[in-house]
Subunit: 341 residues, 2 copies
Amino acid sequence: MSRRGERPSTETLATLPVAVDAMGGDKAPGDIVAGCRRVVDETGIAVVLVGPPDQVGDTAGLPLVECTEVIAMDEDPAGGVRRKKDSSLVRAAELVRDGQACAMVSAGNTGATMASALLRMGRLPGVVRPCIATPLPRLGRTPAVLVDAGANAECTPAMLVQFAQMGAAYVTARFGTAHPTVGLLSIGEEPTKGTPLVKETHHLLVDEAGFEFVGNLEGRDLLPSPADVIVTDGFTGNVALKALEGSLRFLFDAMLGVFGTDEATKAAADVLLPHLLPLAAQFEPENTGGAMLLGTDGVCVISHGSSGATAMVNAVKVAHECATRGLADAVALAVRPVQEA
Amino acid sequence: MSRRGERPSTETLATLPVAVDAMGGDKAPGDIVAGCRRVVDETGIAVVLVGPPDQVGDTAGLPLVECTEVIAMDEDPAGGVRRKKDSSLVRAAELVRDGQACAMVSAGNTGATMASALLRMGRLPGVVRPCIATPLPRLGRTPAVLVDAGANAECTPAMLVQFAQMGAAYVTARFGTAHPTVGLLSIGEEPTKGTPLVKETHHLLVDEAGFEFVGNLEGRDLLPSPADVIVTDGFTGNVALKALEGSLRFLFDAMLGVFGTDEATKAAADVLLPHLLPLAAQFEPENTGGAMLLGTDGVCVISHGSSGATAMVNAVKVAHECATRGLADAVALAVRPVQEA
């Protein structure tokens, strides 16, 4: 069942808590609860935890919406959401739908998080498919976002055009980007390069208003991205994003290995590490606030499965900020029907 | 016109020169010729340059097969090969076809290099489409290879299975890998994850002999790869590969920026750089010997467009080594027809 009646005003949303799935992620519930406690203390944002009391345990004084079930990290998403109607994920999405929370956050099963949000909050009018927007760091600038980072393995040109519309609305709502630029991920700059999906999407994006289409981008343009929004299908997006994460981790690990080889390198590393750590921090998923589901009738932040307390602090901040800035309204306004050839 | 008659024996191939497109790449002809001179002097491998004499200029004493045309880096590949029958690329491929060279090397227009090799050497029997195999470094081990790294934007399951067969034959011929392992690039380990293309390919690979199929891999598994061969379509492969290249370059550049900030970091960097450079060298396209086109009736190495002299040295070595180890024969033996569902 999707949303009943009107979405609350941004003034009302600002007074509502963020609903956090206390059982989501590899470090739940301990680090999830600790992060929520911290963000409440540091910012005054209200948080309500959702989970089975016996599994959540100590809520650190935070309110808990009780439920009886948990969808496991490796559980089939659609089946889990269908069977476990009293799970922490489904109940968190219902809190947003029913105007009792301004947004939901989960570091749990990504597919089940999407399915819960989609089935309980519903799609915004005209949205063919929701997508996931993931930030890509740009040193000294606001991050770019990659859409779709994995929600839809199979896409049509019309879906990709809507991802562009929604991604542009998102960077405006979240980072204040006044005139967003959009690039299309392909294997060459020329409009004739790529799959039929990419070629047709390129053709359609040229005619779009609402953002500036800068043409095709390549894999090497992801870091740092020249466009504010990079559009791709969820299969390519997921592979590319994990390739970036993996290569950066690989290189940091290899460097740390070098740093400890002998006394001289250890001493040198002590000098350099304070300079390198801020760089590393920009690539740390804990610090980015997580990925955003776009196209649902309510805000849903999808955090990394490895999220610790710091990731929760940032995810709750981003969720609250986007909800109170009217992200869902902005996305609804940006989405238009697309006529495929 | 494709190959006439029998492929030369590996004994005969060992006596033949490597044909190098003197006009291919951003640094042609200067660095290309210099690299060829170096590899001849260092290894005794014979090289024949191919290009228009007035454009190549000084051949550093190397033999030149003269032609009148050059296909530009940004020229339409198919059109270029069709129109410019006396171009350096087409002529280099003809030298291999006619048994006058053991292999060809070009750092020029990738699409035109593939088209020249495909149209002039022809496909090996049973090969649906040739593919590009690109090495992925693994510290302290032989590299893994990614197939297809960009030859075919659109693929069928049967094509991907053949890429696996050819990739496995390649790592055996080039690195001596006795029992190659193959992974399929997807967005989750489960066989049910991914596009219909990936799901059907997974199903077919389970039944393949000739290599060990280890199941699906994700983008984060590209560096370092747990499998000797990673199979994907040419669109995803190209995006992933360029994402890796881009992120590593970005991080190295950012680190070098940190290293020069003041006297203390400069001194520390002087200690660490000798340890970091061998690491960086493993990710340097100059050192990998370039990508290999698999499935054509003759060896063709596709070097990076930015190739300098060192890249040419390595590319010529790899081309000669693979030709004399009978790579084309090995690929022909490995390729079997695939029955799609």
